[in-house]
Symmetry: C2
Amino acid sequence: MARAVGSNVRRKDGDAKVTGAAKYIDDLTFPGMIYGATIRSTVPSARIIGRRVDLPPEFTVADHRDILGPNYVALIDPDQPCLAVDHVRHVAEPILLIGHAHKHALIDIHKRVTIDYQTSTPNYDVELSDLCFKKISIDKGDIDLGFRNADFVVGGEYRTAHQEQLYIETNGVIAVPGDGQMTVYGSLQCPYYVHKALVVLLKLPPDRVRVVQAETGGGFGGKEEYPSILACHAAILALKSGRPVKMIYDRVEDLLATTKRHPSIVRHRTGLTRDGRITAMDIEVLMDGGAYATLSAVVLSRGVIHAAGPYRCDHVRIRGRAMMTHTPPNCAFRGFGAPQTQFAVEAHIDRIAGQLRIDPVRMREINALRPGDSTATGQKLGNDTSALPVLRAAVKRSQFHKKRKQWAGSNRGIGLSLFLHGSGFTGGGEVRLASKAALELTARGARILVASTEIGQGTRTMHAQIVADALGVPYDSIDVNDADTAFVPDSGPTVASRTCMIVGKLLERCARGMRTRIGKLTPAQYFKKHGPFTVTEEYEPPPGLLWDDNSYAGDAYGSYAWGCNVVELEVDPVTFEVTPIKVTAVAEIGKAIHPMMAIGQIEGGTAQGLGYALTEEVVMKDGRMANATLTNYIIPTPQDAAPMDIGILESPYRHGPFGAKGVGEMPIDGPAPAVINALRNCGFDLRSIPATPERVMKAPRI
Amino acid sequence: MARAVGSNVRRKDGDAKVTGAAKYIDDLTFPGMIYGATIRSTVPSARIIGRRVDLPPEFTVADHRDILGPNYVALIDPDQPCLAVDHVRHVAEPILLIGHAHKHALIDIHKRVTIDYQTSTPNYDVELSDLCFKKISIDKGDIDLGFRNADFVVGGEYRTAHQEQLYIETNGVIAVPGDGQMTVYGSLQCPYYVHKALVVLLKLPPDRVRVVQAETGGGFGGKEEYPSILACHAAILALKSGRPVKMIYDRVEDLLATTKRHPSIVRHRTGLTRDGRITAMDIEVLMDGGAYATLSAVVLSRGVIHAAGPYRCDHVRIRGRAMMTHTPPNCAFRGFGAPQTQFAVEAHIDRIAGQLRIDPVRMREINALRPGDSTATGQKLGNDTSALPVLRAAVKRSQFHKKRKQWAGSNRGIGLSLFLHGSGFTGGGEVRLASKAALELTARGARILVASTEIGQGTRTMHAQIVADALGVPYDSIDVNDADTAFVPDSGPTVASRTCMIVGKLLERCARGMRTRIGKLTPAQYFKKHGPFTVTEEYEPPPGLLWDDNSYAGDAYGSYAWGCNVVELEVDPVTFEVTPIKVTAVAEIGKAIHPMMAIGQIEGGTAQGLGYALTEEVVMKDGRMANATLTNYIIPTPQDAAPMDIGILESPYRHGPFGAKGVGEMPIDGPAPAVINALRNCGFDLRSIPATPERVMKAPRI
């Protein structure tokens, strides 16, 4: 039988999507359904001193008093109210909910509501904030000794800005009330996160709350956490009105109110020997969490763990803080803190190479992590450590040195970045999650039961490939259940590049267990003889994988994927517009389960990284996104993104399914520093992104 | 405050329907939803000796072995399998169910399934059937004495045929499976009937099954019972596939497979004095139940109770039987047995008048029931007995005598019919049902919680009018909850002209109870002070209403509505096509809660009755409807139905809400006999319907 793993099988979700049969949340409707709208604060920091609602009785109006359980969005810290009580901490904070049978009756509904505020002075400066959501320290070796061993010390500060996830489909849910029960359909990444938030808010037993993922038009982390508060809002209106409630944001509301990537300030002080060896890394990471904690603690965690980049160093000190400011909360976005800190370290390494007059490739070759080396957290790396292979492949494929020499002094530049990305939650996170996956024998093969969501990235296809081969049956005989909490166990959220390596591995174990039980029969034969059965597996850390959450030391991730980007670009000498000409991206991901989809992930992540580097600028004015439309928040179209040359290397991770590691997030770590390094190659000393024409123009020249 | 009752308030369902916002079952969709199709028998009577299904594994195939509970549609008798096991009793009997993600994959799916039959001889003759579903006897006085008192005896046999309900929207449901639970959305009249069928079939606790009525495009009784089997089918496929399943019949399948009005044979032998007084009525009623019992027992019950028509007679014998034949089951249809038996008695009365040379109006004046008289079951009638008032009003409005004289000998004719219709289930039926209704105080007024369905007839509007006036609040402040078993109590089915008189009365009691509790406050004031509360009321028979199910004697219904139709028509001397020119319909319905909707019910029922009389012919060929399309099963369009003059009389029934009785079914009792009597007036001796040109041409001339 042809193996499914490694071949470009038909996508499980493909037919429905290309024929239009796939139904997104706004395609769904329910008998008696009404629509919901949100009245939001117009000021960034205030006490609420009055509310006046002037609406006829056919409108349903709900506020915090209509919440049965505790008034917060259950996630990590219980600090974010589902509906504001007596104060607001950011523009667009939800205060009131209004429902009506007709969508058009809710247009401009905010004009019929008056909220009286007693405003206070907002703070947008992360360094002036006095509310810290999370502090993390990493210490390896003796930092003072490290600097004593150094011949030089190079310092630098690097800044990144907000970035919007910009999924094609905006956030939306429908809450369907029942008798002591609530069902929520939605465009979402993590059904069990929404489930938990509803169970707490509605004070219902877990089996009386059901969350069903509708077809979802993209997430990129933006539907990891936000759907929980939206589901709570719809559920509150549903309870109050006794009717199903649809709430779907338009683009402006989605841009104004939902989360973005954390802006960051990262400061490096690096000790070096004369020949370019790093002796000490002292790194400070500051992340702007916005108004509430959301997942900032975990974003910061991944940020600091990746802050030293793919480099060996015996003496490392990293200090990270996530701080509160008066902007809408920042939260999950593909990469989850790592793009910020690896932007800093990769821009910094190029500046060091410049100061030491060492070739940037050579600088990385000297310091790159090798098998057997240990990371900043002291994790001893295995044989699938591929910093040097991806670096060498990318340099060669792109003719890096030839072009760099050839373009010297021109308005063309070439730059590179080397990066790594841990797959899955940190070791401690996966142990706490204890994810489950299940596989049910069917008459035609088997059905996958996981909470992992298909959001365009190919979850269903990739899982079915793994199961088909582990079970030894054709790919087409594998079904994948909807991500519906009534049927599937909690496989953890669909985030953190964990869906293949962690959940895929659980499914591989399920399939092997099923194969053992059915022996030499085919599934169809066994089914006919004995009927169906289900195999369930729960996460256990691979032997020897240890992590200590207190000292922040140990095996941070089961494994890492590795990447190297080379960006070639041109700067218009008159307008200072930067045009990427070509991107070479080489990635080592263990095993490409579905090569075409893996390449798709790398292409998409790289394009999104180019947007992060160049054009995507969230303009904040008085705590409010001033360019909340698609006409002035500019993401790259296929025409804007440069031609890409993608190379995939495979170095199997023994505890990944068929050797696979994660691929979803890593590609967005590299483009921004490679762009900045290419601009440096053109003579522009930029240390922040996005590199808009205005900033390039004002940048110091080298 | 303007009273709502008696005025033409805006319909509660009006806005959504005229704007297109109303969502019917085919407008609904669910994540992961697949489509279901039914493989049906192609023969009327056979043993199943083999089945072969040649389908790839992406099809879900289910048969009777996939049913967890007992394999029958729970209603009255457990005789109808949900899916055939080893024999079939009618064409289109469901055998297999097939599901697929794409609707188009199910087109012609029956061609890929082979069912092998060992056929046996079918019987379509109700008089040769040896399986009797139900026998009912009514005996009043001494029938022999009645005939001894007679000067003449007139006999006759009258036949009616099938009629199709022809709701605009065909039958359709969606079953959504959960973890140990099932939710069914559907186009249906009786959510709790469907609920019961699912609880039995799926072996689930009642609180794990939920049935929600979607917006419903007409029912006319055709969605009283049939949705139960369809819901069971969708639920079986949903369980097997683990996915939501949509099953919507196209028009051909709906016409072929679903129920129709029972064909009937009614034989009268009537004793009369020389001056036209009826001394004895001996009536035999035979109803063709089709292949399974469904609701035939209850249809027969209403048929026999109404078989003597609106006439006084001391000595009555009625024998009724519902028999099995090898056609698809017949079941509920507006009128529920009464149109058949009142067609017979009214055609018979005109034949008697002819033989006795008594004017047909005079014949009815002599014998019509008056207040204080007793019916065939011995029910003593109250002051709201309006046979004579409706007769006199209709005769006067239509200038009956003038036209009859004027048209004598022409191809124009005029005929009349006098009829009554009991409102609600029989006394015993309502007591067993013990319906509940509830009313919940809301911030703006009150919300009605009943299982009664809006199927176009105005349920929600009419209930809200009653509650508004009984509670003393504006009509607009009353909301009506969806008919969703998760929220509303079992108010019984939406059938039998009971939704106003029975459920409306329960709501009136709820509203008066609520008014007592809130005292002099407005609902809004009380709500603000004390929060919401709910008043629930349960049916209790009015004092003195007694019914004995064993002797079939007593107060059959709480009250009766009364009607008289005058039909004027013209017969084409060449084609024998009959064109109704005008219908005068006078109805006494206690109180018209919403006059415009009451007139609408009468107009619609009258048009449907004209179709029954003239054009609607179900052509059965080998047990299969041979004209199962709208091109050859002809219902009257607005152009075909004659202009109507509708008169409403009000004689309040003291136990009805604001005096109201039922209006939904009665209008269909009268047109067919009035048409036949008008044809007799033109010289055609027809004793069966429909009076198609072929039958008129072949009819004996008088």
